[in-house]
């Protein structure tokens, strides 16, 4: 590489380009001599892994980390992703040997604490949502959607009804139609009203004997509470369908609204959003899925049960006394993520979780109110935990939503979510969460107002050039896709 580092502007080659053949960063004993049992199936050729010492590896990944931003370093208002503070007590507890160094197939008598922890996490989630049952195994939000739709499909099969159409609002996240398709459903989009909510009349017109249910995000992807949700749920139920609520935005209502009171049959919860477990550069997450009594018998296995002999796992349908839809994931779910989420819930408590939702909604409405003069809100407030703007304020400036987002990076902020939801032109979706101080919000507001004025003032060229205060300028995504280079080669 011709690039050289200057000060904190670090240039870091690939690990493969730092190979000192024979070096090793781990000292392992010489293996004892044995007669191998490989049956002649030994790997012959070199694998091609580079050799480095421990300090070289530590420096490499430390330097890579310095090319990233996280919630720890900047305000990260990525709408729909709930980038809230990740408490370090969660990390500490998840590393206790009694929680990290235990195996999923140890005899139940040796993991009573782990089973109790899953049960306790389930208890908190069921109590907060008011739902009677929960499937703990889904690995992420989309996996929770899959779980919920799978239970709906299993319940319909059990009723011997052939209902294969799922209603999904046009504003839905892409995982919704993808999950529905993976369960063999066809997706029927329903339009939104000018108020950014489900068009109740249009939805009712689509209901029928072939409709399995409705998938609705609430608060919805426009950051609005579906104020006709009770009528929506009732209509779906009257038509014989189930109501799937996408819980991606549950952070707005924890402790203030019980999901059970909204007529919901099934909802997944993103522990990595609402319950503070780290996003980790894109996972791991967890998507426990709460279920109504009607769908509970169809929950996937395994399940933790408690009786006078203690806690144990039900891993097979024949032991369950129910009609489980199968198994969705290896082992017993994202246990390490449960530990972190439970530590967070206990830290916040029933009062703190309610306060967090209130603060998240307050902060989003503050952004909406304070930015309305320079940006263009898509819908009238109040919003819930995220504020949605569109690109009308950029009309005729030559600046796009993408340019605006890149300029925000130079101002020291991670951009908001762009171009989602699709129902709004050039969407800018901002989610401050409860983590940010008023000072940070005020600095953000001042910065965005300034950018908007600059854009309107004819500074398009500087927006097109942004970002400049970053390890890399804008990257050529077209070249990356036309001639994919997806791995290092010698």
């Amino acid at each position: 590489m011709a690039e050289t580092s200057r000060g904190l502007m670090l240039e870091e080659p690939l690990i493969f380009e730092q190979d000192s053949p024979g070096l090793c960063g781990v000292d392992l004993p010489e293996p004892p001599l044995v007669i191998d049992r490989l049956g002649g199936l030994e790997r012959q050729e070199a694998i091609g892994l580079p050799g480095l010492s421990e300090p070289a590896v530590v420096r490499h990944y430390t330097r890579l980390s310095q090319k990233n931003v996280g919630i720890d370093s900047v305000f990260y208002p990525l709408g729909s992703c709930t980038m809230k503070h990740n408490p370090r007590i969660n990390e500490k507890l998840a590393r206790l040997p009694g929680l990290a160094d235990i195996h999923p197939f140890q005899p139940a008598s040796t993991v009573q604490g782990a089973l109790e922890l899953i049960d306790l996490t389930a208890h908190w989630l069921k109590t907060l949502t008011g739902m009677p049952a929960i499937a703990m195994s889904p690995a992420a939000g989309a996996h929770g959607e899959f779980c919920g739709l799978m239970t709906i499909r299993a319940a319909l099969e059990d009723r011997r009804e052939k209902r294969l159409r799922i209603l999904v609002p046009e504003s839905a996240h892409g995982t919704n139609p993808a999950s529905a398709a993976a369960c063999g459903f066809t997706v029927d989009p329903i339009p939104a009203t000018a108020r950014g909510r489900v068009d109740l009349a249009a939805m009712k017109a689509k209901l029928g004997g072939d409709v399995a249910g409705l998938m609705l995000t609430n608060p919805n992807t426009c950051g609005l509470f579906e104020d006709e949700i009770l009528e929506i749920a009732e209509a779906v139920h009257q038509a014989g369908g189930y109501f799937y609520c996408d819980g991606a935005n549950y952070n707005a209502i924890v402790g203030r609204v019980r999901v059970a009171d909204l007529g919901v049959d099934v909802m997944h919860i993103n522990l990595h959003k609402t319950f503070s477990t780290p996003h980790g550069g894109g996972g791991p997450g967890a998507g426990p899925t709460v279920l109504s009594a009607a769908l509970a018998p169809f929950a996937p296995l395994p399940a933790v049960v408690h009786d006078d002999r203690g806690f144990r796992l039900v891993e097979h349908a024949a032991q369950s006394g129910a009609k489980p839809c199968g198994r969705l994931k290896g082992y017993h779910g994202q246990f390490g993520v449960f530990v972190r989420a439970l530590a967070y819930m206990m830290s916040m408590g029933a009062d703190g979780l309610r306060q967090a939702s209130s603060d998240a909604v307050l902060s989003a409405n503050y952004l909406l109110a304070e930015l309305a003069s320079e940006l263009t809100p898509s819908f009238a407030g109040p919003c819930m935990h995220e504020a949605l703007f569109d690109d009308r304020f950029l009309k005729d400036t030559g600046v796009t939503t993408l340019d605006f987002a890149k300029a925000m990076i130079d101002e020291g902020f991670h951009p908001m979510t762009m171009y989602f939801p699709l129902v709004v032109h050039g969407a800018l979706l901002m989610e401050p969460t409860e983590t940010e101080s008023k000072d940070t919000l005020d600095r953000f507001i001042a910065s965005l107002r300034g950018l908007a004025r600059r854009a309107k003032g004819g500074a398009a060229a500087s927006f097109k050039a942004a970002p400049v205060h970053t390890p890399r300028r804008r990257l050529d995504e077209t070249a990356a896709a036309r001639t994919p280079v997806l791995r290092w080669r010698r």
């Binding site: 171009y419 995504e477 077209t478 896709a481 036309r482």
Partner: protein
């Protein structure tokens, strides 16, 4: 003498005798942005009007190309597979997608001519 027709899905078909040459319109390539990938049908495949026959992708969008008419695929333009950027440069000429031997030329009657298509596009803006 050939005649060109247009669909509301932004395909064009240029018909000469029993052979129709199909591509996407300038409006379509502009809406997609830089084209990075094209997938074409197999030679000899029979397609019905309105079915998904080819795929065109940019970095942020994927779009199906629907056949404007029924028939058998008799040629495909492999140049746009190896150089997808040609679609942005010459989508209504050399960057055609495939050629069809039309099985039902009467289907063409329902399509737009160029002035009608231009009006249609104006209505979208």
């Amino acid at each position: 003498m050939s005649k060109t027709y247009f669909t509301s899905e932004h395909e064009w078909i240029d018909v000469e005798g029993e052979i129709g040459t199909v591509g996407i319109t300038d409006y379509a390539q502009h809406a997609l942005g830089d084209v990075v990938f094209v997938e074409l049908p197999a030679l000899g495949k029979t397609v019905a009007k309105g079915t998904e026959t080819a795929v065109v992708e940019s970095v942020k969008a994927a779009s199906e190309v629907f056949s404007p008419a029924s028939g058998e695929i008799v040629a495909t333009n492999d140049a746009i597979v190896s150089q997808p950027g040609l679609v942005n440069e010459a989508c209504e000429s050399t960057a055609w997608f495939f050629k069809l031997r039309l099985s039902n030329p009467a289907e063409l009657n329902g399509l737009m001519d160029r002035p009608a298509y231009e009006d249609f596009v104006k209505g979208l803006e």
